[in-house]
C-alpha cells in the first residue's frame, strides 16, 4: 500500500493544539508501524429486541482508502455506522483506532478521535445562514468571520462552491449536502463517513462529489462510503465490505468484480432481471392535469406552477426529480388530500374525463383513483391497527360495509386474499401493521390499492427503503397493472427504476414540470440536466401528442 502524504494545511483544532506544549500535529493521522489500518472493527455485534442488526462484523479501513460498505436496505449498514460514530454502543466486539482499542461513547468522542459523518438526512436550520449553522456545531471558540473564511477556503479547495452568507432555505438539496460535508471537513477528519450521499444528487452532481472525495482521499483522509448502488461503488471505491442480514458476506476490490458477483454477495442471488413487455397501444387519456397552479402552503414549501401532464390507459408516466422540488405538493394535489381551494379551476385535474380538482379524496376514489403514499406509516396504514382494519381504511367500498356496520368475515377474506396474491409475509389478517417489515407492508398497501380495480393509479416513491426482492415485486405489480389498461403515475427519485418501468418520463424541478418524453427517446444524462433545473424545452405547454399513438 503506497503511503499517502499527510495533510499540511492547518485545521482549527491544530491551531488550538499549537498552544499546547508537546502537541502540534494531528495524532490521528499517524498510523503506528505494523498495523496499517486506521480503523479496524473486530467481532462487532449489536442486537435489538426483534433483530440482530450486526453479527460479528469485521472491517478494516486503511489511511487514504475509500472503503465501501455495500448492502441492501436492512442489511445493518446504518447500525454499523452509528456504532462507529458513537451514537450506539455495540453489545460485543472491539474497535481499534490506529491500532489502539477505543470505546466511542458519544459522537463528541468520535469527533475528538477524528471521525466525521455526513448523514443521509441533514440537520440544518432553514432560517440561519450557512456560516451560522456551522458555527452552532463548533464549541464556541471561533468567531463568525473565522468560520466564514474557513468555509470559503474549504469550498474552493475541494470544489464545493458555497456562499457562507446564504440562508439555508435558499439552498438546493445538493447545496445543503455541501454544507454538511464542509461542516465535517472543518474538523479535519481522519475518517469521513458518507451515508448514501447520492440519493439526493443528479448524475452530474454525483460526478462532482466523486471528484471531491478522491481529492480528500489523496490527502490521506479515509472514507467509508455507504451505498447499495453497485455502479457507483465500482467507479469510486478501492475496497468494499459487503453486508447481508447483519453478517459480512464478502470483502473485495469492487473494480475486479462484476455487478453480478457483487450482487450475489449483497443479496445472495442474482439481481432480478426485469423483463417487462413493452406497452401495447395505449388508450384514451385517463388522468389529465391542465395548467395546475398551487401556491405553497408555507414559506418553506414549493409552489406548483403551470403543471400539465397526461397519462393514458395502459401507460406508465414517471416523474423524476430530486426530492424537495414539489413532488409532495403535486401528489397531495392529485390525491385530494390537500384541498385546492375555491380559486382552483374544476377541470385543472380530470379523471376519465370528469373534472376532479374540487373533489375531496373520497370522491376521487369513487371515480377510480387509487393512491400509494410516500410514507407507509403513519399515512398509508395505521401502525397499531391490524391488516384487516387497514384494508378497511380505503377499500371499504369493496362491499365490506353494510348498513353502517363492518362485514367482518368479508373483510378477513378480502385481506387474506390480498396477502396471498401479493406475497405479503405476515402472520395473518390480524397481524398489526407495525409487525410487518417495510417491504411486506409496502406490498400490502400496493396490493390493497390494486385490488380496488382502479382506473388511475398514483404511486409516490413506491420502492423507497425496500430490499431488492420486495422492490422488484412492487415494480412488477405496477407493470402488470399497466398491462390491464390502468393509467399509472409514478413519482420517484430513483432514475434507474423509472427507466426500467416507465413508458414516458417528465421531470419536476422547482415546482415546474418539463414536457413528457418517451423513455426510449431520452437517457439519464438528459434527465439529470433537467433535474438540475436547466429547463431546456418548454415546460409550460401541454405535452405533445404527436409522439404517441392515438
Amino acid at each position: 500500500m503506497r503511503s499517502r502524504p499527510r495533510r499540511h494545511h492547518e485545521s482549527l483544532r491544530a491551531a488550538q493544539q499549537r498552544a499546547v506544549p508537546g502537541g502540534g500535529h494531528n495524532d490521528a493521522m499517524i498510523a503506528p508501524p505494523g498495523d496499517p489500518a486506521r480503523l479496524s472493527l473486530a467481532g462487532i455485534t449489536k442486537a435489538y429486541p426483534t433483530v440482530v442488526a450486526n453479527d460479528g462484523i469485521d472491517l478494516a479501513v486503511a489511511p487514504g482508502e475509500i472503503h465501501a460498505v455495500l448492502g441492501e436496505n436492512g442489511a445493518g449498514k446504518s447500525t454499523l455506522m452509528k456504532i462507529i460514530y458513537g451514537v450506539v454502543r455495540p453489545d460485543a466486539g472491539v474497535i481499534r483506532w490506529n491500532g489502539a482499542p477505543v470505546a466511542i461513547a458519544s459522537p463528541a468522542r468520535a469527533r475528538a478521535l477524528g471521525i466525521a459523518m455526513v448523514f443521509q438526512h441533514f440537520s440544518l436550520f432553514d432560517t440561519l445562514t450557512v456560516a451560522e449553522n456551522i458555527l452552532l456545531a463548533q464549541d464556541g471558540t471561533h468567531t463568525h468571520a473565522d468560520v466564514s473564511a474557513r468555509v470559503r477556503e474549504i469550498s474552493h479547495r475541494y470544489g464545493l462552491p458555497l456562499d457562507p452568507q446564504r440562508p439555508v432555505h435558499t439552498l438546493s438539496v445538493a447545496e445543503r449536502q455541501r454544507v454538511e460535508i464542509i461542516r465535517s471537513l472543518l474538523q479535519d477528519p481522519a475518517l469521513l463517513i458518507m451515508d448514501e450521499p447520492t440519493s439526493v444528487l443528479t448524475p452530474q452532481a454525483v460526478t462532482n462529489l466523486f471528484a471531491t472525495l478522491r481529492t480528500l482521499a489523496a490527502e490521506g483522509c479515509s472514507i467509508l462510503y455507504i451505498s447499495h448502488k453497485l455502479d457507483e461503488i465500482r467507479a469510486l471505491c478501492d475496497r468494499a465490505t459487503v453486508l447481508r442480514g447483519g453478517h459480512v458476506t464478502g470483502e473485495c476490490v469492487p473494480r475486479d468484480e462484476t455487478p453480478a458477483s457483487l450482487a450475489r454477495m449483497m443479496i445472495g442471488g442474482d439481481l432480478p432481471h426485469p423483463h417487462h413487455r413493452k406497452a401495447r397501444a395505449q388508450g384514451a387519456a385517463r388522468l389529465v392535469v391542465d395548467r395546475l397552479t398551487v401556491p405553497a402552503a408555507d414559506a418553506f414549501g414549493t409552489s406548483l406552477a403551470d403543471i400539465s401532464l397526461s397519462v393514458a390507459a395502459g401507460e406508465i408516466l414517471g416523474i423524476a426529480g430530486i426530492s424537495g422540488n414539489g413532488q409532495r405538493e403535486l401528489v397531495a394535489a392529485l390525491s385530494g388530500e390537500e384541498p385546492l381551494g375555491a380559486a382552483a379551476r374544476a377541470d385543472a385535474i380530470t379523471i376519465d374525463g370528469t373534472p376532479a380538482a374540487r373533489l375531496p379524496a373520497r370522491a376521487r376514489r369513487a371515480l377510480g383513483l387509487a393512491f400509494v403514499p410516500e410514507e407507509r406509516l403513519p399515512r398509508g396504514a395505521v401502525a397499531e391497527m391490524s391488516l384487516a382494519e387497514n384494508t378497511l381504511l380505503t377499500a371499504h367500498g369493496q362491499r365490506l360495509v353494510r348498513a353502517g356496520f363492518v362485514r367482518e368475515r368479508a373483510l378477513a377474506a378480502f385481506t387474506a386474499a390480498t396477502i396471498a396474491r401479493f406475497g405479503v409475509r405476515a402472520a395473518g389478517p390480524e397481524a398489526t401493521a407495525q409487525s410487518l417489515s417495510g417491504g411486506n407492508l409496502q406490498k400490502f398497501i400496493v396490493g390493497r390499492e390494486i385490488r380496488q380495480r382502479p382506473n388511475v393509479f398514483i404511486a409516490a416513491q413506491p420502492t423507497w427503503g425496500l430490499d431488492v426482492a420486495a422492490a422488484a415485486d412492487v415494480r412488477q405489480a405496477l407493470v402488470d397493472l399497466r398491462d390491464e389498461g390502468v393509467a399509472v403515475l409514478v413519482v420517484s427519485d430513483d432514475l434507474d427504476e423509472l427507466f426500467e418501468i416507465c413508458d414516458s418520463i417528465a421531470v419536476i424541478a422547482g415546482g415546474r414540470l418539463s414536457a413528457q418524453r418517451a423513455a426510449r427517446d431520452t437517457d439519464a444524462a438528459a434527465i439529470g440536466l433537467l433535474m438540475g433545473g436547466a429547463q431546456g424545452a418548454a415546460s409550460a405547454s401541454l405535452p405533445q401528442d404527436a409522439a404517441r399513438p392515438a
Binding site: P101, A103, P360, A361, P378, E384, V406
Partner: protein, 365 residues
C-alpha cells in the same frame, strides 16, 4: 454490577394490558392499608369498612349500582370521543343541561298520566346535552377553538343557569323558599327495579348504552373511522375521513349520553331539580373512561370500582371519622398506580449484569 433495566418490548403485551388494573387495585388496597395503619387504625378493619361494608347489604349493592349507572353512561359517551382525540371535559355541564331539559318537561306536565312522558323526558335530556356539546363542536370546527377549555367553561355556565331556574322561575312555591323545583309527578319518575333499593329503570338504559357503545366502536364503520382519526391524522386525511365530522360525532355522542344521565338522576333518586344535580359524575366519568381503557366493557368494571370508592369514602367518614378527602386519596392513588402498572405493557424488566465489553475497550476507557 446487578442492573435492573427497562427494555422496550417488540409488541405491546396483552397479558400486561389485562393484568395491570388488577395489579393497580391490589397496590391501592395495600397502600390504603398502610395509610390506615399510619393513622393508628387497624388496617384490616379499616379496609373492611371501606371496601366491604358498603356493599354487604342488598341496599348497599343497590347504592353501588345506583352510582355506577350515570358514571357508565357518561364514560361510554366520553370514550367514543376520546378515541378520536376529541377531548370533552364538560360532561358535567352537559349532564346539567340534560337535567334542565328533561326536568323542564316534567315540570310542564305535572298532572300527566301519559306513558310517553318519561321517554319524552329522556329524549329531551339527550337533546339538551347534545345542544350544550354542540357549542364546543362548532367553535372547534369553525375557529379551531380548544374544546377542552370551551366545554369546561360551559360547565359553570350550565350550573348558573340551573341555579337561576331553581331560584327563580321554576322554584317550588310551596318549598319554603328553598332553591328547588316542585317534585315531579308520578308519571315523570323512573320505576324502581328492585324493591327496598333505589335502583331504577335508568340503570337498564346505562347497560344498554354500554352495549350500544361496544357496537359502535367495535363493529360500526363510523366507530372505526373515529379510531383512525384518533390514531393517525395523516392516515385519516389519506383515507378521506372528515375531521370535522369526527369532532361533531365525538362531542354530540358525549353530550347526548351525559344529558341522558342528567335526566335519569332528576327522574330517579332526586325526583326534582336542585342546584346540584350530581356529585361530580361528569368529571369522575373521565377517570372511569381511562381506567376502562376507552373500552365499553372495561368501563363497566371501572364504573363499579369508582362507585365503590365513592361509597367507601362515605362509609369511612361515618364509621372511622376520616375526612372526606379519603375518597380522593383512593381514587387518585388508583389512577396513579394504574399508569405505573401500564408501563409493563410496553416495557419489560431485565435483571442482570451489563453486557460484556471486550477487555481492550474496558481498559482504554
Amino acid at each position: 454490577m446487578i442492573l435492573v433495566r427497562l427494555e422496550a418490548r417488540p409488541t405491546p403485551s396483552r397479558v400486561a394490558a389485562y393484568a395491570s388494573p388488577f395489579i393497580a387495585a391490589g397496590a391501592t388496597i395495600f397502600i390504603g392499608g398502610a395509610l390506615f395503619a399510619a393513622l393508628g387504625m387497624d388496617p384490616v378493619e379499616a379496609l373492611y369498612v371501606f371496601f366491604v361494608k358498603p356493599v354487604a347489604t342488598r341496599y348497599g349493592i343497590g347504592e353501588l349500582l345506583l352510582k355506577a349507572g350515570p358514571l357508565m353512561l357518561c364514560a361510554v359517551g366520553l370514550a367514543a370521543g376520546y378515541r378520536a382525540n376529541v377531548w370533552n371535559i364538560g360532561a358535567e355541564g352537559q349532564l346539567t343541561m340534560g337535567a334542565i331539559f328533561g326536568g323542564g318537561l316534567a315540570l310542564a306536565f305535572p298532572q300527566s298520566n301519559s306513558p310517553f312522558l318519561l321517554p319524552a323526558m329522556i329524549a329531551a335530556g339527550a337533546i339538551g346535552g347534545m345542544a350544550w356539546a354542540a357549542i364546543p363542536a362548532w367553535l372547534r370546527t369553525r375557529f379551531n377553538a380548544n374544546e377542552i377549555l370551551v366545554s369546561l367553561m360551559l360547565v359553570y355556565v350550565a350550573s348558573y343557569m340551573l341555579s337561576l331556574l331553581v331560584n327563580g322561575a321554576w322554584r317550588d312555591p310551596e318549598g319554603f323558599n328553598f332553591p328547588q323545583s316542585r317534585m315531579f309527578g308520578a308519571a315523570a319518575m323512573l320505576p324502581i327495579l328492585v324493591p327496598d333499593t333505589r335502583i331504577h329503570a335508568g340503570f337498564l338504559l346505562a347497560l344498554a348504552a354500554i352495549g350500544a357503545g361496544w357496537l359502535f366502536m367495535r363493529k360500526s364503520h363510523a366507530g372505526f373511522e373515529m379510531r383512525v382519526a384518533g390514531l393517525s391524522a395523516d392516515a385519516a386525511r389519506y383515507a378521506g375521513i372528515s375531521v370535522p365530522r369526527t369532532v361533531w360525532t365525538g362531542l354530540l355522542v358525549g353530550g347526548g349520553c351525559a344529558g341522558v344521565a342528567g335526566v335519569l338522576e332528576a327522574a330517579g333518586p332526586i325526583g326534582q331539580l336542585l342546584p346540584t344535580m350530581s356529585p361530580g359524575y361528569g368529571f369522575a366519568a373521565i377517570v372511569v373512561a381511562f381506567v376502562g381503557r376507552l373500552n365499553p366493557l372495561g368501563i363497566l368494571g371501572a364504573s363499579l370500582l369508582m362507585s365503590l370508592l365513592y361509597l367507601g369514602g362515605e362509609s369511612a367518614q361515618i364509621a372511622l371519622k376520616l375526612p372526606s378527602a379519603v375518597t380522593g386519596i383512593f381514587q387518585g392513588a388508583f389512577l396513579f398506580l394504574l399508569l405505573a402498572a401500564d408501563v409493563f405493557i410496553r416495557y419489560r424488566v431485565r435483571i442482570g449484569r451489563t453486557p460484556a465489553i471486550a477487555p481492550g475497550i474496558a481498559a482504554a476507557e
